[in-house]
């Protein structure tokens, strides 16, 4: 049989093509991360916390490190270490100012429905009643974003939050 695509090439080519493509398909099928239970999400730790308990930590942080307001939202400048962030339709709270070249541990929790968050390419799902811990190392002064990655309603695509990194005093 002369293969239509191979034109005048030898019939054996078609068989080799079949075997080659078949082998690649088998490898791709077996290599799916789903089988190994591997996931980019495994890197993110979560812990159970009641909404009221998380709110208390958030409020305490905001009261202690507040440096101003932006459109009615507190602007907070916490020291390196634990930082609490609440996700809700369709914003993250509070507005954050972090120091350059420091290490922080973001605790992010949803206060209403299922949301997602991506910080620096690392993603976590925010299930109500749980907080995700996301280590953040700041670089030089500038801005980086937190984005919701789980569809959460009509304004989902506007759920992007900018974190300001300021030069160390």
């Amino acid at each position: 049989m002369v293969s239509p695509v191979l034109g005048e090439t030898k019939p054996g080519c078609e068989r080799r093509l079949l075997v080659g493509v078949g082998a690649i398909l088998v490898v791709l099928f077996l290599a799916q991360p789903a089988w190994r239970g591997l996931s980019r999400a495994k890197a993110v730790q979560t812990y159970a916390i009641a909404a009221a308990a998380f709110d208390a930590k958030l409020e305490a942080q905001n009261a202690r490190y507040r440096v101003g307001d932006e459109d009615g939202v507190p602007v907070v400048r916490p020291p390196p270490g634990d930082v609490y962030v609440a996700a809700g339709r369709w914003r993250f709270l509070p507005v954050l100012e972090l120091q350059a070249w420091q290490a922080y541990r973001f605790h992010v929790a949803s206060e209403d429905i299922l949301h997602g968050v991506v910080i620096g390419g690392v993603e976590a799902l925010l299930v109500p009643g749980q907080a995700a811990i996301m280590p953040v190392k700041t670089g030089e002064a500038g801005k980086f974003s937190m984005v919701c990655s789980e569809y959460c309603g009509l304004e989902h695509n506007k759920m992007r939050h900018w974190v300001t990194v300021i030069a160390a005093p």
């Binding site: 099928f29 429905i113 990655s149 569809y151 695509n157």
Partner: protein, 449 residues
């Protein structure tokens, strides 16, 4: 060979669903534009704020889901032509009429400005009883001719029949995934989250369906244009069957991972990465080789133009898929270009194959090239503009200079290019709808005249 009798009526019915859904989607797109212009939004009989998202959801469901499923409905009939005895024959007309009624029901809430819109991925929803009923009727209506095709093994032995059979099998699997999600999702969930997760797995399955249909359309068009297939039939069947093998474990994901977990979401995303890459590469590679070998003697008719431009636009869209960001405009640029490639193949299918099979071939020598060039290249320019804008930081699904953050020359130029390409693509789309509708209307006049 023109179709006859009941099969011809079924194909005509699915063609009406295809063209009608695109026409209504186009009208809604126009209303969407009017609803955002201060001078014209006051002319609408309802508040533009509430109308906008309901109309947007309906526009997407008609132009993206119903149009593609109507192609599946059409193709599920064609391989049966010429068969003396067809098992489950009644499934065809019942399915077609369910599709007609369902499509009408889907559009009603938008024009009544009723229901709560939900812009979830793949199968966006207007939370309204008529919309849900329409979705069930369209979904079930397409399943019936698919089941009939699979019940007639003689019709799915050749490459085209096999390709349609694979697309049909993938479609039934997608419906199964949606049904399993329905049972797995907890009660009392927020409806936006519920709809997102309800259609997540099945929506990914539908992308396999769309790809299978496009690859089959490429084979049909290549046979029509050149009298040969892009790849050997055995290779074509191998890569098509592989798509079923990849989606078959989909139901397992619901038992491996919580339906609301990130792992569940990523498992289906990975399914596209691992299962949907090679088939278009193999068939597209064969098509490139075929076009190259025939380059000196190609007569650029409808089938040849559809093949060539569909391939080019799909390749660009596929390549963009490897450079996506998080929630910026690169994601829609990727899928608009990939969908553009699929649309071009389907447009070619209707003009070069379906209309002639209905005894209404397109004879206009000027309109067809204008249609393909303007839609195809317009869609490509539109997508490239959107991709560059996304890479520069413009977020997806936002409108207005402030929300899009158009604070640099690059972003503004990219969005300008995007607008120009979009206008060209709209022109091509309008020409296609006009062409199909006039041909279908002419057929009705001829039949009754």
């Amino acid at each position: 060979m023109p179709l006859t009798g009941g099969l011809r009526r079924e194909v005509a019915g699915w063609s009406w669903i295809a063209a009608g859904s695109l026409a209504v989607a186009g009208a809604l797109a126009l209303l969407l534009v009017l609803s955002r212009v201060p001078a014209t939004q006051v002319l609408l009989p309802w508040s533009w704020q509430s109308f906008f998202y309901t109309a947007l959801v309906t526009h997407v469901i008609l132009s993206f889901v119903v149009w593609f499923l109507a192609v599946l409905g059409t193709l599920a009939v064609l391989p049966l032509a010429g068969m003396e005895h067809i098992r489950l024959g009644a499934f065809g007309p019942v399915g077609m009429w369910a599709g007609v009624v369902g499509t009408v029901l889907l559009a009603i809430p938008a024009f009544l400005n009723e229901g709560e819109p939900c812009l979830n991925n793949y199968v966006p929803i207007v939370i309204h009883p008529l919309y849900y009923l329409g979705l069930v009727l369209v979904g079930g209506g397409v399943a019936l001719p698919v089941v009939r095709l699979l019940a007639n093994p003689g019709a799915i032995r050749g490459s085209v029949g096999f390709g349609v059979g694979v697309a049909g099998g993938l479609y039934l699997l997608s419906l199964l995934l949606i049904a399993i999600a329905w049972f797995c999702l907890p009660a009392g969930l927020d409806l936006q989250t519920f709809n997102e997760r309800l259609f997540w797995g099945g929506g990914h399955g539908l992308q396999f369906v769309n790809t299978a249909l496009m690859l089959t359309a490429w084979v049909i068009l290549a046979k029509s244009a050149f009298g040969e297939e892009p790849v050997p039939p055995s290779l074509f069947k191998l890569v098509m069957a592989s798509m079923v093998v990849f989606v078959l474990p989909g139901p397992l994901f619901y038992f491996m991972y919580d339906v609301l977990s990130l792992e569940h979401r990523l498992a289906f995303t990975d399914l596209l990465w691992y299962g949907l890459t090679l088939p278009p590469v193999v068939v597209g590679g064969g098509l490139v080789a075929l076009l190259w070998r025939r380059r000196g003697s190609i007569r650029w008719g409808a089938a040849e133009l559809a093949l060539g431009i569909s391939l080019a636009v799909f390749i660009v869209g596929g390549a963009m898929g490897f450079f996506l960001g998080a929630s910026d405009a690169r994601t829609p640029s990727h899928y608009h270009s990939a969908i553009g490639g699929v649309n071009l193949a389907f447009m070619g299918l209707f003009i070069a194959v379906v209309l002639p099979a209905l005894g209404r071939g397109v004879t206009s020598p000027r309109l067809v090239p204008v249609l393909f060039h303007s839609y195809g290249w317009g869609q490509m320019v539109f997508s490239i503009g959107m991709f560059v804008a996304g890479a520069a930081g413009v977020p997806r699904k936002t409108m207005g200079a402030a929300a899009q953050g158009l604070d640099s020359t690059l972003k503004k130029v990219a969005m300008g290019v995007y607008g120009l390409g979009g206008a060209l693509a709209v022109l091509g789309g309008v020409l296609f709808i006009w062409l199909i509708l006039t041909k279908l209307l002419a057929r009705a006049e001829a039949d009754h005249g």
